[in-house]
Subunit: 212 residues, 2 copies
Amino acid sequence: MFDAFPVTAPKSISVPAGVADRMAYGPITNFDAGAEIYAEGERVGSLYQVAYGVVRVYRLLADGRRQICAFHAASDIFGFETGSERHFFADAVCITGLRTLRSGSEAELSRELLKLALQSLDRAHDHLLTIGRNDAMGRVAAFLLEMADRQDHGGRSVSLPMSRLDIADYLSLTIETVSRVITRLKESGVIRLASTRQIDIVRPDALRAMTA
Amino acid sequence: MFDAFPVTAPKSISVPAGVADRMAYGPITNFDAGAEIYAEGERVGSLYQVAYGVVRVYRLLADGRRQICAFHAASDIFGFETGSERHFFADAVCITGLRTLRSGSEAELSRELLKLALQSLDRAHDHLLTIGRNDAMGRVAAFLLEMADRQDHGGRSVSLPMSRLDIADYLSLTIETVSRVITRLKESGVIRLASTRQIDIVRPDALRAMTA
DNA sequence: CGACTACTTGAAAAGAGTCAATTCACGTGG
DNA sequence: CCACGTGAATTGACTCTTTTCAAGTAGTCG
């Protein structure tokens, strides 16, 4: 399976210091691959923390196209919203477990939530740069590096729980382009494919050189 | 000049309820067009509120390319950072006045800062969608609508304090493409150019139909 | 009036998208 | 255990949009 992004709850969940401690959170809720976590228009309830698995957060356009804003893996906290209604969809990429974070006493948590919100903001800006200033090759390279970075096998081996379509929708590309880029990276010896969803990064530096 | 984005301090500055009230802020500092407000790598000091004028916040790439993340106009608050160092550049698009917000007592402000940070996050996600899911025409259309929305002359007349290059760097396009799209919009009667920087939106609905 | 910069326009090239056809991987049932 | 069916991924040929490179025009400020 996908051992890089844990699919079973680890003994201890690494948590941004101080946050989850002060939150009363319940047991882990399990989601099958593709299961909806929340949908646009729903009333905002709480925040979530990924225990295991991967979540995609996205918007859907009128014509059915999809823009994935973020992938969240174990220990990530997501679900921030400005208003009282959800502006995004979230669902499980693979089998996934979530903890619901209900803030016991909202006020004293804002400081830490602020920190988390700013982290999300940071990631959003990085993503903007990835899409705005990279060609197809650069975007896929950035994506692989991001994934490798978030699952530290010494940074060499990357497992992709998400489909090529998910990747394409995250990078604002088409499946075909993602596939062709991966083939080119493979043929140039920069990466190696153990299987379609399991990639070895042979020359990380080469990937880095392709990104803006 | 640019009467839509006020270039002189208005009598009363509209502020997200409760925030600026509780912040001790000093007098207005003035910046010439192009003047640097802060640079990447600088130590994070405080937040800023635009009194008049327009600010661009951007990143610079190794090869000199630029990605503008946001434009900020009167009453906008900007300058959020995750760490203690600036990750962006900010400078004045035109002659601009800023108030520095120094938080008197950090803790009790987090709640309101959180709200502001989440607004920034929202905008970043919108921007991501604009760039990720629109062609050149759609991006420019979205840009004009955004600008019109933020300076309400009944939504018909838009003044652009920023250059075509600024617009291009904001939308991840080239100057030439921005120019060509504007020409096409003009020729199809969707907009009218009072001058290069002053645009009348003749058919807002047509613009809306072009965006994702 | 002249010089500088901003903006516009044109032609050619490059990159990604689209449409269509295989190939591959995997789970199911014979 | 193997054949088959299904959905995912890859590959190919072609089109279209945007970039690139190169002039040219318009505004503006001294």
